[in-house]
Symmetry: C2
Subunit: 124 residues, 2 copies
């Protein structure tokens, strides 16, 4: 496991996960369908609290992707599937805030709408 | 700013920052000396709380790097320098827990030692 100069083999412990391991991880729904991958995730600078992960899908052949901010608490890592599982149906996600090229301003209103779309109270 | 298909131009707002923007960011001390760069950062899976960022330095010509976990709260982003500034002297960092090839297990004891080395109480 620690052959050669591959740095940092573990990158994950029982309760911690490395930021760059989260990025690129697949996201599935309960039915096991792949919804996309985690593009990146947004951290509240001062508190260090992760506010949401950005689910990316599409983007084949340079056609551009769609990005869906998901509240962090909707994601559960599943070891067997090697990815995150969300208990959300596609319709709910489709109707939630998302964007393609231009990233939104992520102001307070937008962030509350993201949480609200998933039936969650906005933290703080 | 949104020319071509460059995805997600902003990646940062007043109080949020994207995970992949944190990675690779330079870290300076108060004197403006560059200490290294952020390799990645570790997130507590369930709560989504960032526990520490991993400062990397060295690693030129395949010589291998050293990695220093820094409590998130020690890092302050400085727009002018385009990087994080830490109010820590080199000696303190040198004496704090760090590793090179093999990542430690990041168990409770290790994590408490990281915080303790920087004079901070371990959260939770």
């Amino acid at each position: 496991m620690t052959e050669g100069k591959a740095p940092l083999p573990t990158e994950e412990t029982h309760d911690l996960i490395a930021s760059d391991k989260v990025e690129g991880t697949s996201v599935f729904n309960r039915a096991g369908e792949k919804l996309g991958t985690i593009h990146n995730f947004m951290v509240e600078k001062r508190s260090g609290q992760v506010e949401y992960a950005v689910l990316q899908f599409g983007g084949v052949l340079g056609m551009g992707s769609d990005y869906y901010p998901l509240p962090w608490e909707t994601l559960t890592y599943d070891v067997d599937q090697g990815g995150y599982v969300v208990d959300l149906d596609k319709e709910m996600i489709k109707n939630a805030p998302h964007y393609s090229e231009d990233e939104p301003r992520f102001d307070r209103d937008y962030r509350e709408r993201v949480y609200g779309a998933y039936g969650l109270a906005y933290p703080t």
